[in-house]
Symmetry: C2
Subunit: 407 residues, 2 copies
Amino acid sequence: MPIANTPIRLPIPAIPRGFRMAGVRAGIKRDATREDVTLVASDLPATAAGVYTTNLVFAAPVAYDRSLTPGRGFRGVVINSGNANACTGQRGLEDARAMAAAAGQALAAAGDEVLVLSTGIIGEFLPVAKVTAGISAAAAALGADDAAAVSAARGMMTTDTRPKLAGGTFSAAGSSFSVFGMAKGAAMIGPKLATMLGVVLLDAALDPVDAQRILAEAAEETFNCVSVDGHMSTNDTVLLLANGAAGRESLYSAGLDACERTVREVCETLAREMADDGEGATHVMRIEVEGSGSRDEARRIARAIADSPLVKTAVHGADPNWGRIVSAAGYAGVSFDPAALVLRVNGILLFRAAAPVPFDAEAVSTSIRQNRETLIEVSVGQGPGRIRFYSSDLTADYVHLNADYHT
Amino acid sequence: MPIANTPIRLPIPAIPRGFRMAGVRAGIKRDATREDVTLVASDLPATAAGVYTTNLVFAAPVAYDRSLTPGRGFRGVVINSGNANACTGQRGLEDARAMAAAAGQALAAAGDEVLVLSTGIIGEFLPVAKVTAGISAAAAALGADDAAAVSAARGMMTTDTRPKLAGGTFSAAGSSFSVFGMAKGAAMIGPKLATMLGVVLLDAALDPVDAQRILAEAAEETFNCVSVDGHMSTNDTVLLLANGAAGRESLYSAGLDACERTVREVCETLAREMADDGEGATHVMRIEVEGSGSRDEARRIARAIADSPLVKTAVHGADPNWGRIVSAAGYAGVSFDPAALVLRVNGILLFRAAAPVPFDAEAVSTSIRQNRETLIEVSVGQGPGRIRFYSSDLTADYVHLNADYHT
């Protein structure tokens, strides 16, 4: 499958203090010109947190990381693409441990001080020798400049057309801190190339409980609010590492709030990038639901709209087909008064009081056609629930990418 | 949108005694050569039952029929295609009543002795004058031969490429009874042309409670086990009318069982026909799940597999991509032991004991390519839950049909 060398969206964010990284070519991917092993090192022992797929069928690295996080004392993350180490049974678990041990050795750390991410083909055993050789090469290439960030992000890509990077800074107690994020995929977007992976690094110090709460809350509002095809993978994982290189004291109170806000912004940028890079996508759909009983209800409504092939094809066709959106909201399994539903697309009112509203269909269509992002705003009442959700449209290219591939 | 005149699958089932029907052209559809009003008449007052969309946003005819069923004394059903009378507020309800009243007048019955079905464009008011003229024409054309059955089934079509008919017979207490079914669509398959509609007629006598139970149970295992794109419409309705023309005594015991079985078979044939006629479909997917804790759990697993765009595109591409199927089962929200999962495609074992099984990928691929139906068998344990579910594959034609249409 051709991977376009789409330019990265600048600026490339700074790598936080005390972290170094590299992505190298280890020959795991069929295309030997692409990076497929990434190593992230933390000079100081870092607190780590993780959020994982809720799929009953989960991969070996998910089992491995889940047993270790949240916790303290982590020295790095090792990532491979091209092989998901999923549905590989006991041997898969041993391979994940071996991968962690090799990375630990390269970083002068123990195996259980390194977390592991894999993405790629399901059901084939990990080529451990290639991964190990890649880890050695990456350890020798570790850096903290733009090239290091880009190669590391490229090393986790599968069907992504570009690396996804985001960054932010915040101040607390007189110090300045950086947050760096890199990610790949968007829920099971690829042909046997599973998984959304994310790594968030920051140079503040966090207690494990705070790190886990901040990551889980940010993921809830960002990565859990993006869907390309509704297919949840066996490997979905987001890790957060906080190493305290810019301030050894654990954050609290206002500092913690600023950290939480910045982590969330970084995660939202990455989540939006994933929807934008959805396979074959010509539009990003931003779905804003408000007025439901709870955030979870808002998300269920948003997801029903986001995952409807009829809504997705209507957006692709620049068709202001409000009937598809309204009826998708109606089957989300959430109770609301249909008479209270108000729908706007790209700011234009289409539906209110259980009946369509006269509108300029050509203007809406033109607006959809001329913008990469389509904004779908749904209000279902006066409740406190609200969510922002990203998705992409459904195109014939998506079908070709996923049907014309053979195992 | 071109509608192919695909030949009907013979044989055309017999219309049960005491029923007559006709489909006529009333000019509601843009294509004036297509039937769009169907009238079904029962010479004797019939017991009627109905099952309806659970979408919060439901159409006027759904509200109308739901208020009347289950009940006795029905003399007919009137159906229009080309306009769904959905999202049309209070005026929509009045239009549905007017349509019933016009049909009642044509059948020398009261308005509330006739049930109403509509399908087509959402959010436009029903062209009542055209519908009324169509009802008069249909009343003058009522018949009980093959041509009557076909015209009636055609009068409910939207994006269907062919009318969908099914029939069966059963004996009870020395009498022979017939069941006749006609249907259209497959859950919101069309561009603004909503809806799965079904009408089941039989010449046995049933109490309303029995009729409702038989229809609900049959729908649960057939129409509720078919999905083309997972989008539930505002108008989905199945009606059952039992007029007792072949035996005035209400069925009970063994007769009721035979009736139930035959209604179920008729509904299953119609459900499978819908999946087979899914927009752009090149394959019917038959998904058999067993071993779950309950039928509902089995259905959730089957639906997750059926609705996954990655599974649907894999089937289209004849790719034995078991990872997509296994991982879809894993995110169905049903608890099972992944190590117990066994997967077969077209009878060939692909996955067992949490690991792939060596298999001849080319043989599976050839088998998928050479058969219209792809059989996906999933066992998740030893529980009593089982279900048969029909879906269709996802093709670029589906995207073109749904994206290249403009309101």
